[in-house]
């Protein structure tokens, strides 16, 4: 029907490179990073010890032994003993149970509320977005630790109130990141292509936006796990955590500070334990971020 003026040019397909990607490649990349492996192993160890402390220590964390009081770190007692002769290593591991659980609760709260706020805000945009983001601004205007302190004042002491307080403190950051990601993905051509292909908003949200917005939020979650651990430890250090003789990490460090001159290990070793965990989480988060780029 139309007049073909020119023959179409036929060319060999240029060699198009195939990148190796996907899960296997990612795993391969991770294994080549020794620091990542060490960090992952440490996080895994602490996580397991939080739920099964007995696997890694034979001592009862509450059993006193006046004969073995204030022993420095050694083969018998990895972290030494406190003034009642309790094994510090065992106390740190049993402290994991409390602190890690509190951290998971805090992250749970931050995840549900923050993700919820962020998705709703980014997805519906307009007036809903304005209102929710102003609310987040207000939350951000109260420095995290002080917001947590108000909540602890109102709820009382203990692991759970501390977890709730810390969780609420992380919500705004979560909400902001989630919203930014949802907004970013929402305007990408493949979302438009799906819409043009007749996909409903619900489908677009579930199948395209969330899976692709998830990455940076997960990275933030890992990073915030570290932040939450420090915040929980700080609150229990200040004396708002679980009641004795149970001891969270912060309490252990606080208890040891009266013996800094004679028995430095009582404070410093649990502190290093916590710092290594937070550092590992930071490193994991950073590695994930680099890989997703």
């Amino acid at each position: 029907m139309t007049a073909q003026v020119v023959e179409p040019v036929v060319v060999d397909a240029p060699t198009e490179t195939r990148e190796i990607s996907g899960l296997r490649a990612t795993t391969a990349q991770l294994i080549r990073r020794p620091l990542f492996l060490i960090a992952a192993a440490w996080v895994a160890f602490v996580l397991i010890s939080a739920f099964r402390p007995g696997w890694f220590t034979g001592y009862d964390p509450y059993a006193t032994d006046p004969a073995a009081a204030m022993l420095p770190p050694g083969a018998d007692h990895l972290f030494g003993t406190d003034i009642y002769g309790r094994d510090l290593w065992s106390r740190v591991l049993h402290g994991s149970a409390l602190t890690i659980r509190a951290t998971l609760i805090a992250l749970g709260i931050a995840g549900v509320a923050g993700l919820g706020l962020g998705i709703v805000s980014g997805f519906f945009a307009g007036i809903t977005d304005s209102i929710l983001m102003r609310f987040v601004d207000v939350l951000l205007a109260i420095p995290g630790l002080l917001l947590a302190l108000s909540i602890v004042t109102a709820l009382g002491y203990g692991t759970l109130p501390v977890a709730v307080a810390v969780g609420v403190g992380i919500v705004p950051g979560f909400a902001r990141t989630t919203r930014a990601e949802v907004l970013r993905v929402k305007t990408l051509p493949y979302v438009e292509a799906a819409r043009a292909g007749g996909a409903s908003w619900a489908r677009v949200l579930l199948r395209h936006i969330l899976p692709n917005a998830w990455g940076p939020v997960a990275v933030l979650a890992v990073l915030d796990a570290g932040v939450a651990i420090i915040a929980i430890a700080s609150l229990s250090f200040l004396g708002f955590g679980a009641a004795p003789p149970a001891a969270e990490w912060g309490t252990l460090i606080a208890d040891g500070r009266n013996y800094l001159i004679t028995s430095w290990w009582l404070s410093l070793l649990p502190g290093v334990f916590v710092a290594l965990l937070v550092l590992s989480l930071n490193h994991l988060s950073k590695t994930f971020q680099e890989l997703s780029r």
Partner: protein, 531 residues
């Protein structure tokens, strides 16, 4: 006496403790005052060569063998101190993208003057000199522009400011790395003309790095064709156009529409004496305002069934907005849109939904058009799933059929977009658009992000599909050469209005408006005339 003398140059990038070669065994000479163009597709090593010349290889890049002597100084293996003495005063650089090439927080005049002071000129005198350079680079009202910040200047003016910076060091050689590809064609032409005049007047050698053989042929004394890091062919542009020695150069010439037809833009289709089929899409008097900005003003466009209608114009002319309104992704402020007999201008998304089976979209950017988490198969079958067409099994069969239509192997069904090249992704996007067996496909600059040869293949595929399936296309492009090789009819747009429309054969050979003439004139490849 040569200014640049490169022999046996190897440049590689260090990645994971391995050197990946980017340039291999390159020999190249540039005489003082000579204009040389290096032409190649992405990955040909042309930009790496330019970076190596000015000693600014990106992190990990290094010269692994050979020598590059510039103005008597060996740069291979030279330290930062040696290279710095060359930069600016011997070799000037005009970077690729003018929009990001200037420091956003410094006044333009200051940035030019800085290059002057590096020659040892005192500050007040340097500023006065900077204004002269801006004027020479063709910046109107240079005193005012010198006081402004880059964001207050248009892309063309920014490019001229960058030229002024390159001139300010009084170099013997200027490297222009794809100097105008980020600009509109008409601006591009004016700036390249101006730059050519400047270097000739001053006896400065110019090294143009470009992907476009036509640009190179128009402006260079000598053309160097590169591929996969090696030199393919070198010589006088006329000689190369007339009698290319290598098959690769021949395919490049064939892919550049104006070069292929001896300097004329010859449309693929001529529908001047044929009756126009009934329209599948008609836009009548469409207007669109964003706030106080009038993006579209009384735009009327008709797409005849089974043919390709192109919307062509420079950035900001309203062509993409027109396409989005036609597809119901944006609503018109006024006017009517009739798709296959149904008025759609006022339809809600829900009401429009059934019509989506008739009109589909292929997007510009191949890297963002596919969901990175979806396999090729999932992407292609998604529209079918959205409309609940068929069973899982029949959808899979359809996906295989579609892959076949776009000439991709069936084994690609399980691949992720990250495993595909740009051209392959665009094929997948086309397959997805075909899934619902639409009558009309809207193509938004479908090949502008691809290399010339891949462009050619995709355009060929689109033409084949149209012939086999009787498709209609609404095709948006800034590139008149591409329009000539795909479209039957065209609307030329400028400032939100249709300036001219009609069969491509009429509009391109006998343009009625001054603007269209200017656009056509700006298509590179004039030199081929002289053959």
């Amino acid at each position: 006496m040569t200014l640049v003398s490169i022999t046996g140059l190897d440049v590689g990038y260090l990645r994971r403790r391995q050197v990946h070669p980017a340039v291999t065994g390159l020999d190249l000479n540039v005489a003082p005052g000579e204009v040389v163009a290096i032409v190649g597709e992405s990955g040909s090593g042309k930009t790496t060569t330019a970076n190596a010349l000015i000693g600014l290889l990106p992190a990990g890049g290094r010269i692994t063998a050979g020598s590059a002597i510039i103005d008597g100084v060996e740069t291979a293996g030279a330290g930062e101190r040696t290279l710095r003495r060359l930069r600016g005063s011997v070799v000037g650089l005009i970077p690729q993208d003018p929009m990001v090439g200037l420091n956003p927080t410094q006044r333009v005049g200051h940035q030019v003057a800085e290059a002057v002071t590096l020659r040892g000129v005192a500050k007040p005198a340097a500023y006065a000199e900077a204004i002269t350079f801006l004027e020479q680079a063709g910046v109107p009202d240079p005193e005012l522009r010198a006081r402004q910040y880059p964001h207050e200047l248009s892309g063309g003016l920014r490019q001229r400011a960058l030229i002024a910076i390159a001139l300010a060091g009084r170099p013997k050689l200027i490297i222009a790395d794809e100097p105008t590809s980020a600009l509109d064609v008409t601006v591009q032409k004016r700036i390249l003309d101006h730059l050519g005049g400047l270097v000739r007047d001053r006896g400065i050698a110019l090294l143009i790095i470009t992907h476009d053989l036509a640009v190179a042929a128009d402006r260079a004394d000598r053309v160097v064709v590169m591929r996969h890091g090696r030199k393919v062919e070198e010589g006088d542009p006329r000689a190369i156009l007339r009698d290319p020695a290598q098959a690769y150069t021949r395919t490049l010439i064939a892919a550049a529409p104006r070069l292929a037809h001896g300097g004329r833009v010859v449309p693929r289709f001529d529908v001047r004496d044929q009756p126009q089929p009934a329209p599948i899409l008609t836009l009548t008097g469409v207007g669109k305002t964003f706030g106080t900005f009038r993006a579209l003003d009384d735009v009327s466009v008709t797409v005849p069934r089974g043919r390709t209608h192109a919307l062509v114009g420079e950035s900001g002319c309203g062509k993409t907005t027109t396409l989005r309104i036609a597809l119901g992704l944006e609503s018109a402020t006024s006017g009517s849109v009739v798709l296959d007999g149904t008025e759609t201008a006022d339809l809600s998304w829900r009401a429009f939904r059934p019509l989506r089976r008739k009109a589909q979209l292929v997007h510009q950017d191949p890297f963002a058009t596919l969901d990175p988490k979806f396999t090729v198969g999932q992407s292609i079958t998604e529209p079918l799933q959205s409309f609940r067409v068929g069973t899982r099994r029949s959808r899979q069969a359809r996906a295989r059929e579609l892959l076949d239509q776009v000439a991709l192997p069936v084994s690609y069904l399980d691949r992720l977009p990250s495993e595909l090249s740009g051209g392959q992704r665009q094929r997948v996007a086309i397959a997805r658009a075909l899934a619902l067996e639409p009558d009309l496909i809207m193509l938004d600059e479908p090949v502008s992000a691809l290399d010339v040869l891949v462009q050619e293949q995709i355009l060929g595929l689109l033409a084949d599909l149209q012939r086999d399936l009787g498709l209609s296309y609404l095709f948006v492009s800034h590139d008149l050469a591409v329009v000539a090789s795909l479209a039957h009819t065209v609307s030329v747009m400028n400032g939100g209005r249709v300036v001219e429309d009609g069969p491509v054969a009429t509009v391109f050979t006998n343009p009625a408006s001054e603007y269209t003439r200017e656009l056509i004139d700006a298509i590179p490849g004039r030199r081929a005339d002289a053959l």
